[in-house]
């Protein structure tokens, strides 16, 4: 029944993100903890539900760690084309993700890289060139690359199409689980301690 299972795709957004919100807001409103949203995308005549996990950019609002990486079908690395450091951080984000999410085939795990905020100052304050970004993506196994402006809505939908496509192609399979013949249900009942709830 893989077709039904694949209807739900889990996507993690890392880095300088801030554009999965339904409506773009110019004013900064920090994300706290992992922000979970769903987005329906149409792809090859089928409807998919993207389960999108946006992360808090400010580290102090990520107090519980990154357990939500697990089971991801695609990871989107976002940087701000106007801030060199956000680009330099991509490598860390990628490595950290591979360690924490430990996908079964890290070499071929689907990433997508997005250079965001291309609208700022009419592109004049840009410090990371498209060429440089594309070169990095190529060196990491041809990661698809997009340049977007969440503010102007440029390219955002295209990016999500590719995100869905790659998540779908992702080789990520369920962890193979075969139950013991013993019924652990009753023992697990005993393990719970304390109150009735």
């Amino acid at each position: 029944m893989p077709s039904r299972r694949r209807a739900l795709l889990k996507v993690i957004i890392l880095g300088d993100s801030g554009y999965v919100n339904k409506k773009f807001s110019n004013q900064y409103k920090a994300t706290i903890g992992a922000d979970f949203l769903t987005k329906e995308v149409q792809f090859e005549d089928r409807l998919f539900t993207l389960q999108i996990w946006d992360t808090a950019g400010q580290e102090r609002f990520q107090s519980l760690g990154v357990a939500f990486y697990r089971g991801a079908d695609c990871c989107v690395l976002v940087y701000d084309v106007n801030v060199m450091k956000s680009f330099d951080n991509l490598n860390n984000w990628r490595e950290e993700f591979l360690i924490q999410a430990s996908p079964s085939d890290p070499e071929n795990f689907p990433f997508v890289v997005i250079g965001n905020k291309i609208d700022v100052d009419g592109g004049n304050s840009r410090v990371v060139s498209e060429k440089k970004a594309r070169a990095w993506c190529a060196s990491k196994g041809n990661i698809p690359y997009f340049e977007t402006s969440a503010k102007e809505g440029t390219n955002v939908e295209d990016a999500f199409q590719v995100i869905a496509k790659n998540a779908l192609k992702s080789g990520e399979e369920e962890e193979i689980y075969l139950p013991d013949t013993v019924d652990v249900a009753s023992s697990s009942q005993q393990r719970s301690t304390g109150c009735e709830c």
Partner: protein
Amino acid sequence: MMISNGIEDEEKWLAEGIAGIQHNAFYLHRALDANNLREALKFSAQLLSELRTSRLSPHKYYELYMRAFDELRRLEMFFKDEDRHGCSVVDLYELVQHAGNILPRLYLLCTVGSVYIKSKEAPAKDVLKDLVEMCRAVQHPIRGLFLRSYLAQVSRDKLPDIGSEYEGEGDTVMDAVEFVLQNFTEMNKLWVRMQHQGPLREKEKLEKERNELRDLVGKNLHVLSQIEGVDLEIYRDTVLPRVLEQIVNCKDELAQYYLMDCIIQVFPDEYHLQTLEILLGACPQLQPTVDLKTVLSQLMERLSNYASSSPELLPEFLQVEAFSKLSNAIGKVIEAQADMPIVGAITLYVSLLTFTLRVHPDRLDYVDQVLGACVKKLSGKPKLEDSKATKQVVALLSAPLDKYDDIVTALTLSNYPRVMDHLDAGTNKVMAMVIIRSIMKNKTCVSTSDKVEVLFELIKGLIKDLEGISTDELDEEDFNEEQNSVACLMHMLYNDDPEEMLQIICTVWKHIKAGGPKRLPFTVPPLVFSALKLVRRLQGQDGDVAGEEVPATPKKIFQLLNQIIEALSVVPSPELALRLYLQCAEAANDCDLEPVAYEFFTQAFVLYEEEVADSKAQVTAIHLIIGTLQRMNVFGVENRDTLTHKATGYSAKLLKKPDQCRAVYACSHLFWVDDQDGIKDGERVLLCLKRSLRIANAAQQMANVTRGSSGPLTLFVEILNKYLYFFEKGNPQITSSVIQGLIELIKTEMQSDSTTANHASDAFFTSTLRYIQFQKQKGGAMGEKYDPIKL
């Protein structure tokens, strides 16, 4: 051991929990694939039972929770599809309530609830209200917090917000707000209560765990900020007061600090600006240990970023009186938190100042006000010793300099020097260097003596010994760097008006003369040159204008210069003083002030005779004297004779023969100045040259005695070149036959001493002869003059 066991145990419990979830998930998937609702409910409830554990730390519990969360997403997809299970969502909502344990039951209820809202078969607000009430049943903090955070997560996109598809009739935004506020309040209570659980000895561990859970609570504020319908009015009248009420009343330091931080970060700047009074009003009511300086600094930083994002915002800041509100609040917080260390208070003022400089750069009165508040806080206390606190004061004092690129503006702030007075001597110097660097970097011209007065008062730590530190204790390199900076600074003090400029010089002198023997050699020369520059500007003006009133005259400046340089001879630094006297003499010459120039020479000679003892220093000094004297044209015959006589006398008395010889032939120039009406005393030139020849001979003989061979003939060749110079200049005393004689002399000497061939002097001689040959061949008047000389 204890700890490692604890961690191992936890790993084991987590592994067991995961195994339990995986096991049940396996059967759950089978049930979902078979569209078997009953089995699906059974296994999902069993799966969720794993979340009933009390043995995991928040991090580990979160891992378990996430696994359950992922499974619930599939279940939710299944619930949504009525065709697959044949049960209406209303019935489902009833059905899941039969699950045995409360916790699994509520997770299932929330999951169905989310589908229920999506189906729109009941108003979102009713379902949400029901769910948030039901969750009260779980009072265990970690379990309760995660359950409620699950509720927050699944309801996040189903709130009856305006513009949302779940928007109902009437004022439904308020329902959304009420729902989130209620969940927030309950979560905060669970979170705060957690600290009272468990034995006292585990307090530290408990605090750490509580801290890890904070984002679950803060998340609600993020959700509130994302509700479209929360406009400024709702925020100001409902959201903010209710959130603050909960924060103040919980009386918990951790919660208060964290939630204030959240409010500032999640809500937009515009709201903060319009509700400053409410937000700031809560601050003094918080626990006295809450780190409000960080909270307020962050608020001010946000607001200043906001202000600088668009110039159109400034009127809003003025209209809401942002500065005075912040300033008041800071005052109240400092008052309320009596135990706040001084560094905390100053950090707050630094933030306020940064805010002021960014938002109201034109309001110097605000800036001074902040500094004044800081002085008030510092006064009556001993000088700061806490290094963190002094660092903050340096930051405070540096901020205006960075902003205005112009110390002059800072100099007008009356409280600026008062803050500096509270610094210890070391920090005072650090600050003084900051000030000087700022002036140099921005090439700021300090143009009045009043400002110079204030400036030197500010940097007095570099100018003289302050109590507590004497110059002996200082690192020499640092000291030199500091004093060089002061020296550079003097070039930045300038006014076009000679009167004011003289005032500036006098002011500087007043300050630096107390600098002591180590500083004066650094500080006097630039001041002297600054004064001489002024003299040059006034040059041509008559120095002898009658009456006392006439202010800046060269004569007056020379008097001052005399005093200034004299201070150096006390240091003692005679060589430097001598140079400066000669500089002054030359300037006086150009001003046509013979007595003044003569006086400076006299001073230089006195120093030479009495203070310059080192033979090398003497050689340098004598050449300086000769050079300067040669350029003087102000002297009458008598004065000039006296001075040249002395100079030649000193020359002949130098310690080493070669030095004597060179100084004496240099003196020949004192009698032959190439200018139109310069002195041209050929006879005395010849006397000098002859004398130097005699000395060269004597040097040669001495070398013979000591080394058994005559030394190099360099000196003779040098003298020969002097002869050629005066020969060409038409000195009648220097004839071709005199030159011929000298050439022959050198040639014989060379042949007589072939053993010690000296390449340098040989080459020198050869090229001199080649020069003569060249002049001969050139023809014309010069060729004719050279013709009699035979090589």
